[in-house]
């Protein structure tokens, strides 16, 4: 029962946001923003519980995201594919997305990125470990695709800003 609590609550949230905002784009933005707010706090919980050390490169980061984080919080292990030649982009392939159990997109919400909260969470969490990334859905089973695919792109490392006067 508890495994469905998150999924059901998420569904109720998306439903409410669709009522509160006039168009899908605004709902997508709101989901991303909420995800970001969750991500910046979730990272502490994750680091405390997983005991992973600092990642040395984006490939390690990808592994930790797929094999540790997704497993810990959503009970699934997405596969990592489609690395860019420069090693700064990869895809997470979710065979099944627990958020969309029991969900169907009505016709008038074709632009809705239902699981967009996840993109915000990834972005917020990684920002807290000094990585600016972009996360976006490129395939979605809710829209008829065979799998759900999140594309992750490394933008830049975020340098710590030291206060003036410190070396």
């Amino acid at each position: 029962m508890s495994s469905e609590l998150f999924t059901l609550t998420y569904g109720a949230l998306v439903t409410q946001l669709c009522k509160d905002y006039e168009n899908d784009e605004d709902v997508n933005k709101q989901l991303d923003k909420m995800g970001y707010n969750i991500g910046v706090r979730l990272i502490e919980d994750f680091l405390a519980r997983s005991n992973v050390g600092r990642c040395h490169d984006f490939r390690e980061t990808a592994d930790v995201i797929a094999k540790v984080a997704f497993k810990m919080y959503l009970g699934i292990t997405p596969s990592i594919t489609n690395w860019s030649p420069a090693g700064d982009e990869f895809s997470l392939i979710l065979e099944n997305n627990p958020l969309v159990d029991f969900v169907e997109l009505p016709d008038n919400h074709s632009s809705l990125i239902y699981s967009n909260l996840l993109c915000g969470v990834l972005r917020g969490a990684l920002e807290m470990v000094q990585m600016a990334v972009e996360a976006r859905f490129v395939q979605d089973t809710l829209k008829g695709d065979g799998v759900t695919e999140i594309r992750m792109r490394f933008i830049r490392r975020i340098e710590d800003n030291l206060p003036a006067g410190e070396e």
Partner: protein
Amino acid sequence: MADAALFEFLHTEMVAELWAHHSDPGPGGQKMSLSVLEGMGFRVGQALGERLPQETLAFREELDILKFLCKDLWVAVFQKQMDSLRTNHQGTYVLQDNSFPLLIRMAAGLQYLEEAPKFLAFTCGLLRGALSTLGIKSLVTASVASLPTCKFQVVIQKT
């Protein structure tokens, strides 16, 4: 299987977002936000109730159902049992949780007393929704005297 922590993070963010969106400065504003959260909890509670194994639905008495909420439902949702259940045997029940998980992250005592209702609305709806699926119409309210202890009052509505 989604981790309990994820639900708690989502709940906190939902409260923040819906509070900001649905509040207006007038006296009706606060009530509207609480009822939006309560309504969401109700739908989730109904859905959870529908997923219960059939045996649990063959309750003999109203009190059994309340005990079920205090044990099985609470454990499934919050990984702990309700700490006490009292009733006047006339359709009113008071369920007390001495360390309610959705209030735990806030400082104990009286500092956040004013904020507490926002964090209880969804759960009140959850209880009301689960009861509804079990065939019981109710009104559920919550009160906090001192965080993180809270009481849920369930008043059965006779149809």
